[in-house]
């Protein structure tokens, strides 16, 4: 773990307020000028099951999960066997537990951590209206070295609506927690505060914001975990910018509503997860053939089928890139961090509008539901202008005219002279259905060419560092890969990081440039089959040796795992 970062896990059974404690700690850390990330882990119960809040607080921006947790605080050990694998600990971990909760369970004790008892329940009982989670918050904040003021302010703000007594009791709990912490003889990590502007945002909120900034003004929604919060965040925002959201009866409807709104000229989006995406592919093919822009955000979860709805995985690469029937080139964009969800989604909207083809945004549960304190984002400018016919073009208007760059002017309902019928049947330039080979070839070429000929600029990938070794990756696990690269750099081993944001279409020349001089590259992804690796092999000509590193979810991809693989790679090179 790099200096200036501390990781904590808080866990307990339903109703104990684990998440509230985690959120307060995160926001207070933000107010204190720190950076941080919080993810949540829930049991299968709809409500009130055991839960864990997993935090990492840092002096520097941080989006990767830690390798192990420094501090683990358990209210109780309810169903710990379901959680244990998600909270790696080792001998350096300090496990704080309530003696009332019984002995340390095997999965915890086995790692041989340092332990200390904190009589949370008993202390809470001693305070009028006292709550276990507030005491825990006091303990953890003190052990993390978090200044008192911002935490008290946040607690004050949160409890205020429950009345003064609640506030007093909450602050009392914090204090007792702090005192209990002082008796443990631990020295907090010295985290330094940033004085730059920062945001507190989740990936799903960032995706929503990116959509609005990209110009999306129509959203069709069908709820699905873990994408629902994108839609729920957008719902009250859209009317404020003149847009609207419609709840659809299913994903077939939501995708087709987007087609209809977009046909009318309104940039449109829906968000879903794997099972919903599967239901949308027929309509995505229609958008390809009819050249209708639209954006579908897929917040990936464990698959296949219903899979593991609340946990992250990068298993939808294949369906996103190859899941449409027939030859149906389209855009696939993967944000590679919480903040990047803003810009990447915005970019997807503008590419989709400019290229008149559907764009998929591949996010995932870890990034989407991860809540991070990030540097104020550098927002990219984009203009989402759809090409409409010039006056000249409106005479003899041909909707699917073959042009130099493959993009044809698109008239919108209401424009005189521009009437045409969009069609998912193969068609000639006017849109009239045709089964002739020449028309088919021309339109297939056009639909491919417009994607290949577009200038995507540098934003197609993040390329960092140099060296003959590389990591090639995509999506949320980029943060872990970046941290791994940093750690190797600290050991004097240079590794280039290539995080591909534009997954489709391919960028052969750009990739060749990015990989110039690279001899071996580790291809890192979080799925079982190595879907991205096969794509790189099948669709690119890469001379560097590609070494696979992929494993499925639900455990987050940790920097240390990648460090281990990279060290192997470095050794092989030396040999």
């Amino acid at each position: 773990m790099p200096d200036g970062s501390i990781s904590l896990a808080i866990m307990g059974s339903g109703g104990t307020g684990v998440m509230t404690a985690g959120q307060l700690l995160l926001s207070a850390a933000g107010d204190a000028g720190w950076y941080g990330l919080m993810t949540r882990s829930f049991g299968p119960q709809i409500r009130g099951g055991e839960a864990a809040a997993l935090l990492r607080l840092s002096s520097r921006p941080v989006e990767a999960p830690p390798d192990t947790y420094r501090l683990v605080l358990a209210f109780d050990w309810s169903n710990i066997e379901r959680f244990a694998a998600e909270i790696p600990i080792d001998a350096s971990t300090l496990v704080l537990h309530d003696p009332d909760a019984g002995p340390l369970p095997a999965p915890i004790a086995g790692a041989g951590p340092r332990t200390a008892e904190v009589a949370l329940k008993q202390m809470a009982k001693g305070i009028e209206g006292g709550r276990v989670n507030m005491i825990a918050l006091g303990v953890l904040a003190a052990l993390a070295g978090l200044p008192v003021e911002p935490l008290e302010a946040r607690v004050h703000q949160t409890l205020a609506r429950r009345g003064e007594a609640a506030v007093t009791s909450g602050l009392r709990c914090l204090e007792e927690g702090r005192e209990a912490a002082a008796t443990l003889g631990e020295t907090p990590e010295p985290l330094t505060a940033a004085h730059t502007p920062r945001w507190l945002i989740s990936g799903n909120e960032a995706t929503g914001l990116g959509a609005l900034r990209g110009g999306v003004r129509f959203v069709a929604a069908y709820p699905i975990t873990p994408a629902t919060d994108v839609l729920e965040w957008l719902s009250p925002q859209l009317p404020r910018v003149g847009g609207c959201l419609v709840q659809a009866e299913d994903e077939l409807a939501s995708a087709n509503m987007c087609v209809g709104a977009s046909f009318g000229g309104t940039p449109s989006l829906t968000a879903t997860s794997g099972p919903g995406l599967a239901l949308m592919t027929e309509t995505l093919g229609l958008a390809v053939a009819s050249e209708t822009p639209m954006v579908v955000v897929d917040v990936m979860r464990g698959g296949p089928s219903t899979g593991i709805p609340t946990k992250s995985e990068q298993g939808d690469f294949d369906i996103a890139v190859h899941g449409l029937h027939g030859d149906a080139p389209h855009l696939v964009v993967a944000p590679n961090g919480v903040t990047d969800c803003i810009n990447a989604t915005q970019w997807a909207v503008s590419l989709s509008e400019a290229l008149q083809t559907p764009a998929l945004v591949l996010s995932d549960q870890a990034m989407g539901q991860g809540r991070a304190i990030v540097p104020e984002p550098a927002l990219r400018d984009v203009d989402t202008a759809r090409r409409t016919p010039s006056e000249g073009e409106a005479n003899d208007y041909r909707r699917y005219r073959v042009t130099e760059d493959g993009v044809s002017p698109m008239s919108l309902p209401g424009m005189p002279g521009g009437a045409y019928t969009a069609d998912g049947l193969e068609h000639g330039e006017t849109g009239t259905p045709s089964s002739q080979a020449a028309h088919h070839q021309a339109q297939l070429d056009k639909r491919r060419d417009k994607l290949e000929r577009h200038g995507y600029g540098d934003y197609w990938a993040d390329i960092e560092g140099d060296g003959v070794l590389a990591v090639i990756t995509w999506g949320s696990i980029t943060a872990a890969a970046r941290e791994a690269v940093d750690r190797l750099a600290a050991d004097g081993i240079d590794v280039r990081l290539i995080s591909v944001r534009l997954l489709a279409p391919t960028r052969p020349a750009d990739m060749a440039r990015a990989l110039a001089g690279v001899e071996r590259a580790l291809v890192v992804e979080q799925n079982h089959g190595g879907q991205f690796l096969a794509y790189l092999r099948g669709h690119y000509d890469i001379s560097a040796e590609l070494v696979a590193f992929h494993r499925p979810g639900p455990l987050p991809m940790r920097p240390g795992e990648i460090v281990t693989e990279l060290r192997e790679l470095a050794k092989r090179e030396a040999a």
Binding site: P147, G260, G424
Partner: protein, 278 residues
């Protein structure tokens, strides 16, 4: 009709229909263009949205904006358009298979949602485009399909009853052999604020040649009501050939919430933390 600026033929595109000579859908196309002309609409203010089927080919034959989508999904496409561009006149259309079989769920929810659009189903009680299989409105004992050569054994769906129970606010039945009457129904449907459903008996002369007899069976009879009880009562006596506007309610059309303007920076502002003060 004296104020019309565009004649019915101005609403035709000139593309030659793929329909069999004698297909009922020709009459529906005529009725539509007549209705639009009568309403003094300009072709570019109108959008025809369809799914897949013989009947769903209709948009390309009109000089309006059209979207020929995928099978069964005309209604959500039309809903997206109508809701985001409320100033347009949006008609959805297609066949009984498209609308009641694969598209049945969207029909149900379009009836409930009541977005401002008109849905015309050209009902020939058969899948014409795929060469003659039973649709939901096909009689249980029709043995004309190779897929169900002894009949489906499933009673035919009653579209008007379904629309009424699902909450539709404008429910009518017309006949392609009566383009004037049909044009009138379509015009009323367009003028109705909200979702209008018009079932049109439109014979498939190729796979259901016996439907040429429809003209002998159709008869006037519906008395327009805005009372659901009275409407159900009429449907209990319906022989599937009663014509006219059965039911009209004045429920307000669906309009999603839209509020006053905010700028994007203000929206983004919610994420900013107070700068660290330590």
């Amino acid at each position: 009709m004296s104020t019309c600026e565009f004649r019915p033929k101005d609403f035709k595109s000139g593309v030659k229909p793929v329909w069999c000579p004698g297909c009922g859908d020709f009459g529906v196309l005529n009725a539509m263009t007549k209705a639009l002309s009568g309403l003094s609409l300009a072709p570019e203010e109108v959008a025809f949205i369809s799914g897949i089927g013989c009947s769903a080919r209709l948009p390309a034959y009109a000089a309006v904006y059209g979207f020929h989508g995928v099978h069964g999904r005309a209604l959500p496409v039309a809903t997206g358009l109508a809701v985001s561009r409320p100033e347009l006149t949006v008609l959805a259309m297609g066949g009984d298979g498209d609308g009641f079989s694969i598209g049945g769920n969207h029909f149900l929810h379009a009836c409930r949602r009541n977005a401002n659009l008109t849905y015309v189903v050209m009902d020939n009680a058969v899948y014409g485009m795929t060469k003659g299989q039973a649709s939901p409105t096909t009689e249980a004992d029709w043995e004309g399909s190779k897929l169900t050569p002894e009949g489906t054994h499933i009673p035919a769906l009653r579209p008007l009853e379904l629309a009424l129970s699902a909450g539709a606010g404008f429910i009518a039945r017309g006949f392609s052999g009566d383009p004037n009457g049909l044009a009138h129904l379509i015009a009323q449907g367009i003028e109705h604020p909200g979702f209008s459903f018009i079932q049109v008996l439109s014979p498939c002369i190729t796979y259901r040649p016996e439907q040429m007899e429809y003209k002998k069976h159709v008869h006037e009879g519906f008395e327009t009501t805005s009372d659901r009880r009275a409407a159900f009562a009429q449907l209990m006596d319906d022989d599937n050939f009663t014509q006219g506007l059965l039911y009209r309610s004045d429920a307000p059309p669906y309009t999603p919430d839209r509020a006053e303007a905010a700028d994007l920076d203000r929206i983004a502002g919610q994420f900013a933390l107070a700068a660290g003060e330590q």
